[in-house]
């Protein structure tokens, strides 16, 4: 495969809070997956090359992977997260980068 045909990815870090507190690892996983699936649909998710890379339940900080050309859609999807099971929620995008290390540093 030519380098130009390689899958180009971006990492977007975020901070998640539901009801003012960071949810547990399992709850966060469910929240992120269900919200992205609801926003993009099954077909959209497959084209997005979405993956939850990491999540820290102490701080609520996490990171997702997406396709390079669809960073704006990913950030907008995060911005659209407003509630979860009756409680107010917020998924705030923090930084974007081409590698996990660089995204974590920002």
């Amino acid at each position: 495969m030519k380098p130009s045909q390689r899958f180009k990815k971006r990492y977007v870090s975020f901070r998640l809070a539901v009801g003012g507190a960071a949810p547990s690892r399992e709850a966060a996983r469910q929240i992120v997956h269900e919200h992205f699936l609801s926003f993009f649909g099954e077909s959209g998710i497959s084209g997005l090359a979405f993956k939850l890379i990491s999540y820290d339940e102490k701080t609520g900080a996490g990171m997702v992977r997406c396709e390079r050309s669809r960073v704006d859609e990913t950030i907008f999807c995060m911005a659209c997260f407003t509630k979860w099971k009756g409680g107010a929620g917020r998924m705030e995008p923090v930084s974007t980068g081409g590698s996990v290390k660089r995204t974590e540093m920002e």
Partner: protein, 153 residues
């Protein structure tokens, strides 16, 4: 970056300045019945919540140096299928604006602290609607002229 909100005393996120839209004379909330008449006002920022704007109104807006306002809060307040419908209406309104050659801007128009979003999220909203880089830059310039005017006044 500048954002207009519809409440006073909201905390601004880092890197974003908030302007109270209730005190901003250029911002005009318009019903579908009065949208064409309101578009004739000079330099108006026309906010028409159903986003069912005709091309004739966009032509009037372009002629009088106005801009159509898109609100991120309108998207946040809806959910599921209704959210997709409002985004679709916004995209159609943006296409009408582009054909008529009138400007478009995006603000959060937040009424509550939970509706306030960062500048990056606002930029992503504009990109998702289909604004080009040049259109986004122009939208930022329009917002900055409002901030300068407020600072002067």
């Amino acid at each position: 970056m500048i954002d207009i909100v519809l409440a006073s005393g909201l905390d601004a996120p880092k890197g974003l300045s908030l302007i109270d839209g209730n005190k901003e004379r250029r911002l005009k909330t318009s019903s579908p019945a009065s949208v064409k008449a309101d578009a004739r006002m000079r330099g108006v920022l026309l906010y028409s919540p159903p986003y069912e704007i005709e091309e004739g109104a966009c032509v009037e807006l372009a002629r009088n140096g106005g801009a159509l306002v898109f609100s991120l809060s309108d998207v946040l307040r809806e959910g599921g299928f209704r959210r997709s419908i409002i985004i679709s209406k916004m995209r159609l309104a943006l296409a009408a604006c582009r054909r008529a050659g009138c400007s478009s801007v995006a603000f959060t128009l937040a009424k509550r602290q939970e509706e306030v979003r960062t500048g990056r999220e606002l930029a992503a909203f504009m990109a998702v609607l289909g604004m080009t880089d040049a259109e986004r830059k122009h939208a930022k310039e329009i917002a900055e002229t409002l901030a300068k005017k407020e600072g002067a006044g």
